[in-house]
Each structure stands twice: as structure tokens, then as C-alpha cells.
């Protein structure tokens, strides 16, 4: 791994973790959405260090451009009620779940950190629009078409679930 790549990785990793922690700590959902935005943008930059240029662009387009904006729309639609009061009572189950999650994450990360693969040279067009696009259309053309149907079903389902029933 080259020095600029390692530097970019360290910076984006710090921002990704800080954004994620801010997302789950924030009292107000709008601030949580901003934390999510920081997290997503830093992950998009991190994808560049993994030679996944198209995935970085898609991450920015879909997550920063659509997902965060959708969250902000819903927060504005719901208004002050989007803020849920402080956690009352029953702290023990939450403490237990935090302990389990921290243990599992520590075990996973310390084990996975030992995975060592050399930074082999990537073939030409690896991760670019040309390379990944050709791979999708040659190896995964049918799933790619099914995804469009999935998104259509999601749109129809969202309209069916969320429409107001005025009688």
C-alpha cells in the first residue's frame, strides 16, 4: 500500500468511525443524519483506496444523494415528534446488549486484523466504470434486471403503506 493511500485510509477510517458514533449518540435525528452523511462520504473516499472508483461514486450518489436526503425529508415531515425522549428505566438489557456487541466486535476485529493478503497489482480497468460495468452485464445481467423489479416493488409498496386513508 502506498503512503498516500495509507494516509487517506487512516483519515477516512477516523471520520467513518466518528460519523458512525455521532449517528448513534445524537439526541436529534437531524444531527444523526449529518453524522451518517460524514460516515458515507468518508467511506466513499475509502473505496478509492480499494481501487473501487465506480463503487465510490455510487456510494455518493445513492447514499449521500438519496438516502440521507430521504431521511431529512422524513424528519422534516414528522417535525418535533421525531425526537424521542431520553431512555427511561430498564437500563440492564441495554447494558447487556452493549456488552455483547462490544465483545463480538472486538473478537471479530482482532481476528480479522490478522488476515494478511499481499497488495497484488490490479488488472487493467479494475473497478472503473468500464471494468465493473462489463462485469455486471456479463456475469450478473439477470440479477441486475431483477433489481429494477425490486426497486419498482419497493416504490409501489411505499406508496401503498404510507398513503393516507382519507375516508
Amino acid at each position: 500500500m502506498t503512503l498516500p493511500g495509507a494516509t487517506l485510509f487512516v483519515v477516512t477510517a477516523i471520520f467513518a468511525m466518528a460519523g458512525g458514533l455521532f449517528t448513534i449518540w445524537a439526541r436529534r435525528p437531524l444531527r444523526a443524519a449529518m453524522g451518517l452523511l460524514v460516515h458515507i462520504i468518508s467511506l466513499a473516499a475509502m473505496f478509492l483506496t480499494l481501487d473501487a472508483q465506480l463503487m465510490g461514486v455510487l456510494q455518493l450518489l445513492v447514499y449521500a444523494g438519496a438516502v440521507v436526503v430521504l431521511f431529512v425529508f422524513v424528519i422534516m415531515l414528522i417535525g418535533p415528534a421525531a425526537e424521542v425522549g431520553p431512555i427511561e428505566g430498564r437500563v440492564a438489557p441495554r447494558a447487556v446488549s452493549i456488552a455483547i456487541v462490544v465483545t463480538l466486535a472486538l473478537a471479530l476485529s482482532t481476528t480479522l486484523a490478522r488476515f494478511d493478503a499481499p497488495w497484488v497489482e490490479v488488472p487493467e480497468n479494475f473497478g472503473t466504470v468500464e471494468g465493473l460495468g462489463a462485469a455486471i452485464y456479463q456475469q450478473a445481467a439477470a440479477p441486475f434486471e431483477i433489481i429494477s423489479i425490486t426497486l419498482l416493488v419497493a416504490i409501489i409498496g411505499a406508496i401503498a403503506v404510507a398513503r393516507s386513508r382519507t375516508e
Binding site: 448513534i24 451518517l36 473501487a52 431521511f71 425526537e83 497484488v120
Partner: protein, 100 residues
């Protein structure tokens, strides 16, 4: 600094997301935690694909994860709005209709 660092970071991010999902009771923030978890899996897939770059399988998989995450979020927010219309709150502890 190798592929292992990316994998460790992905598991830490997954831990952050799952802790947020388990501890918070705000439905919006729980949905955001799900997005954090899906994003961490994308990091994992892209890192493994970078370790074995002979084909694009990991990146194709991450592409589909992004598409499915978008569909899941749309349905989740629709359910959230329907829930808000009934309960006038987003606290998931108040969703007790099927509990008893």
C-alpha cells in the same frame, strides 16, 4: 497496513451500527443504524475483492447490497410514517399492539 486493517475497521463499524440498533429507541436512528451495518458489509466485500482482484465478484455483490439497501430504506420509512400516523410518536417501545 493491509487488507486485515480494512476488515477490522468493517467489524468495528458493524459493531457501532448494531449497538445503535439495540440501544436507541428512536425508529429513525434505528434505520440509520441499519444503514451503518450495510455500509460496513460493503467495506468488507470491497476489501476482499481488492485482495483477490482477478474478477469483480465482490464489487458486483456490493453493488447489489447498495440497491437492496435503498429498497429496504424506502419501505422502512414508509412503515415509519404509517406508524407515526397511528401513534404520534417514533418510540419503538410504544409499539405494543402485538405484545400481549
Amino acid at each position: 497496513m493491509g487488507i486485515g486493517t480494512y476488515l477490522a475497521l468493517a467489524s468495528v463499524l458493524f459493531g457501532i451500527g448494531s449497538a445503535g440498533f439495540l440501544v436507541r429507541r428512536n425508529m429513525l436512528i434505528q434505520l440509520m443504524s441499519i444503514e451503518l451495518m450495510l455500509n460496513s458489509v460493503n467495506v468488507l466485500l470491497l476489501a476482499f475483492n481488492r485482495a483477490y482482484p482477478a474478477n469483480h465478484d465482490g464489487q458486483i455483490f456490493a453493488f447489489f447490497v447498495i440497491a437492496v439497501a435503498a429498497a429496504e430504506l424506502v419501505i422502512g420509512l414508509a412503515i415509519l410514517i404509517a406508524y407515526y400516523r397511528i401513534k404520534k410518536t417514533l418510540n419503538t417501545d410504544d409499539a405494543t399492539l402485538l405484545k400481549y
